[in-house]
Symmetry: C2
Subunit: 844 residues, 2 copies
Amino acid sequence: MRTSRPGGFATSWLLVALLSVSHVTTASAETGYDAWLRYAPLDPAARDRYASLPRQIVLLGESPVLRTARDEVVRGLTSMLGAPVTAAVTRGRDPVVLLGVLPRVRDVLKDAAIPTQIGADGFWLGTLATRQGAIVVVAGGSERGVLYGAFALLRRIGAHEDVTRLNVREEPSAPIRWINHWDNLDGTIERGYAGRSIFFEGGRVVDDLTRVRDYARLLASIGINALTINNVNANPQVLTDAFVPQLARVADIIRPWGIALSISIDFSSPRRIGGLDIFDPLDSRVAAFWQDRVDAIYRAVPDFAGFVLKADSEGRLGPSAYGRTHADAANVIARALAPHRGVIFYRGFVYDHLMDWRNPKNDRARAASDNFRPLDGLFEPNVVLQIKHGPIDFQVREPASPLFGALQKTNQAIELQITQEYLGQQRHVCFIAPMWKEVLDFDMQARDGGTPVKQLVTGRVFVRSLGGFVGVSNVGRETNWLGHDLAMANLYAFGRLAWNPDTTSRQIAEEWTKLTFNDRPQVVETIVGILLDSWPAYERYTGPLGAGTLTDIIGVHYGPGIESSERNGWGQWHRANGTGIGMDRTTATGTGFVAQYSTPVATSYENLATTPDELLLFFHHVPYSHRLRSGKTVIQHIYDTHYQGAEDAAGFVTRWRTLAGSIDAERHASVLARLEYQASHAIVWRDAITAWFRWVSGIPDTAGRVGNYPGRIEAESMSLDRFSNGAVIPWETASAGLAALCSAGGTCTARHRYQGAAGTYDIAVQYFDESDGTATFTIAVGDRQIDRWVADAQFGSGAPNGHTSTRRTIRAVRLSPGDEIRIEVNATAPDSGALDYIEITPAR
Amino acid sequence: MRTSRPGGFATSWLLVALLSVSHVTTASAETGYDAWLRYAPLDPAARDRYASLPRQIVLLGESPVLRTARDEVVRGLTSMLGAPVTAAVTRGRDPVVLLGVLPRVRDVLKDAAIPTQIGADGFWLGTLATRQGAIVVVAGGSERGVLYGAFALLRRIGAHEDVTRLNVREEPSAPIRWINHWDNLDGTIERGYAGRSIFFEGGRVVDDLTRVRDYARLLASIGINALTINNVNANPQVLTDAFVPQLARVADIIRPWGIALSISIDFSSPRRIGGLDIFDPLDSRVAAFWQDRVDAIYRAVPDFAGFVLKADSEGRLGPSAYGRTHADAANVIARALAPHRGVIFYRGFVYDHLMDWRNPKNDRARAASDNFRPLDGLFEPNVVLQIKHGPIDFQVREPASPLFGALQKTNQAIELQITQEYLGQQRHVCFIAPMWKEVLDFDMQARDGGTPVKQLVTGRVFVRSLGGFVGVSNVGRETNWLGHDLAMANLYAFGRLAWNPDTTSRQIAEEWTKLTFNDRPQVVETIVGILLDSWPAYERYTGPLGAGTLTDIIGVHYGPGIESSERNGWGQWHRANGTGIGMDRTTATGTGFVAQYSTPVATSYENLATTPDELLLFFHHVPYSHRLRSGKTVIQHIYDTHYQGAEDAAGFVTRWRTLAGSIDAERHASVLARLEYQASHAIVWRDAITAWFRWVSGIPDTAGRVGNYPGRIEAESMSLDRFSNGAVIPWETASAGLAALCSAGGTCTARHRYQGAAGTYDIAVQYFDESDGTATFTIAVGDRQIDRWVADAQFGSGAPNGHTSTRRTIRAVRLSPGDEIRIEVNATAPDSGALDYIEITPAR
């Protein structure tokens, strides 16, 4: 960052007027709604640092986006500085913050040391000495650039950075910085974990778009420029004349934030809503249909961004119905969009989900390249291939998709999932930036000289003007948008990386923490530490060594479910059996997937000795006795990492507790509750994965932990009244495979006569919180009730299993030998009020 | 057999009269209802052999049982000889068949060479030369003995044996020759596979007891002398005053057949129907309750046989509720029965079904001996311990229960299951006599000199007067009693072995075949061959080497379900994992079960080298690579035997077909249908077991069969309309783990374009016949419908799995390359009309 040289120059103000500003921040409880745009009042010491900051904001020019930028600066500074800040059109004597697009700024501040050029969406922040004193300039390469510059300025102040000598030019890495939503028109969200859709309800756009506006503001602050609001598994109704006005309403509300509207479309729309009996992309009537619909949309939404299309994938209809190619499909729609400068994103997530799992040569990982590499060069210029970051589906660890390196004549964007579908579903903290960085920084060696994925998707390597980043988000109506306050770091990180993929995870985490909480060193250190440790921890207690997340891949994608990956056509196979684990994807003996990479990368993955341990099982099938670089066997690594991961998760609780009093009580409590839940669910994961591998491999844990749970009393071996014993499916998700089920109605009772030493203990109750009803649990010691709670959470499953397994810990309970510990359950059918075990451990 | 010497002696007939006889056999279709008591008319050649047989039947004495004996002889001879046979009380000149108890016979036939003594229930058959010519004498050691002698005479004639020189004395091996039924008062039958109860309906005894009478006749013909008519999981209502008259009705109808009534009782009856708040066997009010109820029963049924009691087992209440012993429980009831000379059978089937499966020392097999051995000598003299033949539960292969050799001062009876609960449920042919014989002939070496189980249970070894055999039968309202005509051989065999356990399986099979079908050598050879090969075949395609049946042990107990045995408290563990299989029950390293046997037996089982292969996995856990005496590895043995077993089952069809024209068409067709079904279900078993072990072990089949199914096309990879793909649970019960489900209503269509060589083929359609609805299947080649059927069978499961997997084969279909094979399914919900695969093989 260079410091601007002060210098004399003329200002030529036009007129002065106080303008009303609509946003006023009032002190209120911290709900998470404001996320990183809290503009928390600075403490007096910090405030002094910004004493010289101008309190008048002058906007050059007039447009919705420019007004937004100006108003945001007024709002932010007012709130943070705790002093009146006014919007003005002035040639007064006071210093100002001046906002405008570059030509207007240069016109006003002639001869000033201002860049002569700024890329579209870029901005320049500068401090200039004038006769009125130091003014602050926010110059944009476009109106949107002004808005981004305004947010950048506020971000610096929010993070307590010095703004007295600004001279910063920033330009985004790529033009595509989009967010996709998988919201359905009925208000549900596919993979939604934070309430219903903010966009839709009952088949229509919601009446009150306040949350959409506030969401757009969050997105604008991190540089997002387009928003696809409906599910890629699209309802064709979005293209009808009846629906277009509703789209226009959304477009109107997000437009002032520099965000353009986009929708997902159904490829069979010509047949489903177009009155045709065909949707063949080479049929002229089909082409006419698309042109007609595109034109209709642009009449209502002139700045419409374009479409996202999922075709021939997971049951969606596509061009294969007529023997046409993906290029045929994309191009017919692209040609309709081109006159309006719209684009179409064609999803590369195309694979056969009915693959024969018994054929050792079949491999879903091959699908993207197999499908699209032969089509390189055949797509229209306004087609973008939207490619998931890995070859499977957002697993906890995957290599970069080889398709990034294989397309030289096709626009591409990387699809990153902000939604923690396979990463704990926002009930677990899992900061994904480090995972994304691994992929973005991975050198595909597509040609000489280094070709990291980030340079491929931004179009730098093969000189494509259209490229970038698509994030899949599932914000919902929960006040804090994503359910977990810490999950917002992922949304933030996506925007920041799309803007500049060279940013480090730590930089992002620090910035986000300061803005979202505060900048006390202990707070920043603790929260950044938890964030940076969270993905490694999640990986440790879920899927090891690149084998996949090891969750139930058929349905909920949440709790453990090892065998769900196997013996079906979905292709998320890890091939674990009694002797070994891993997918052999080598060229020599496996599926040949590795040959989709460039030769140097392929050579590395082909060879067991040069494959990184963390991706070992993605590329190779090895016996459990195979030794990793650490010297451990694969099986012992599985045991050890799962115990380590569960300890890591427990550590997050301890670390978070140290923040009491250092951050607001509201979010401290709500995050603590999630972290405590996570720590207990990490135990479910740990026990499930280790028990299954212990069983199938027949190899004991050298540390003796697996299968040995001190203090644990299985519900099925307690003295039961009205409970029945039931097998849990999959078995590894219940301790000892069994639970006590309270399915008969009435009050079920489980009793245990404590026979250990007298003392103070924590009692953990492991039960199943099914989504299909409620169950009330009470626990008593003798005639003393020590806890009571209602299990009514929604984990997406109505059965006892790894999704619903939940722990309640009652701390510091006095126990004496002979005490009866009694648990009573009242369940409303069909909830089975299932109990797994209790665990009595010395109080912590 | 000695030939009686003709000699002169006086006959002193009293009077002559023609008596009406109620039974007349009329020619009718062969329904199986008459079982082995068909009394088929002899062909002329055979009839000549019996030309000299007396046609007048004279009964000495008068009682219901004696009249039954006389009438049966009239009925049998009339039918077989095709000539008038009359009952007479005569001193006429014609030769007669003379029936009576020994003293009466000796009184009439003074000086004749007739045994001076015949044991109770025994008989003597003799041919004596008199002045009127050769008379035939049936002398009984009791009235029941006369009846048994009458049946024995008819059996000889039915089997075309010579009766001109009879001199045969037979006595039963033991006084206990009982049949248990698991019929519920509501008319259902626990483990019933042949229709509803013949005894009960709607909480009462049925009005029409005709079938009970005819069933009693069948049982009498094989020497059964008591019948327990209700489920051991007993309804306490059977003991109420309201119910006793109904019991009396059953007793009255079976009494003429020499069969005494017995019932199963609920140990908590004092509390449930007795107005007490207690059922403690040591409480005097409880004792009074039992005495009161027993007295009430004996007032209505003076010859009541006694009770069967299942207590403290599988959730039934028992003496443990009060800390009392099984002896306490049995004795309180025994003392009530003793004055009436009634007995109580206390079931040894007591085990903890909530055992912790993770404890390698736990072992259900230990339970019977652990529970009862310490009580030896503590039971009242009219208590009989009823012991299942093996230590687990009627699995396809078990060692003899060690308890047989452990009780020296307790009456015991062996419980054999005629019901094919774990042996194909009467849909598969499985002749159990050879299995029973293995146990009965097994030398427990309980003391020097040889102590086979048969001599222990009959009381010979430890000189107990009360001992014998209990068979569990599940005849139902299906016309042929057990559903499968060949299953009746098991009921027959049970009676014959209870009478004389030294009889060979072949003898029994031959006798039964001649009586049930006919005595043509080809017929006898074929059917006896199938019967004797059937248990080995069933074992081959189900559970190998003593591992258990490998069926779903939780619910239906029918189709394959390997992992159902594991990870639950039921204790039918085989401990199969990725590296090996088997329960280590040795003393050195296992559960110590082997130490329950006498030292020589224990030594043999303790040692891997001396354990017979067929019980290897019952006693030892071995790696899959362990070599059997055959030189094969365990895993290859599993593969090979399963293929062999399926071939055996296919061979039964071929062999049975050769009988067309040699037996009646009705039963030929009905048995053929069952054998064809069995052959197809054996393939389900074969594929499920081999696929699972192939998966878990990772060891391929050296013969390359497992996982390689020529001509098979998976439904899920056909061109599907309205079908959805679904996982089948457990996965190994569907080919490739998946099925196409027609759950959405309407007509689902699966299409396959045939691309093989032109020719004539058999097309097998593998589908799932769920019990929860019907599904109509049609199959067409091009526009030619080649078959149509309705799947409405009852396999006890409403899901696609190993129980419901069913095959339909359309034979000799012309196929040409390009032909479309089309299967349409219409299912009524909730039936999923599931389709597994089709298989196209050259026409046989």
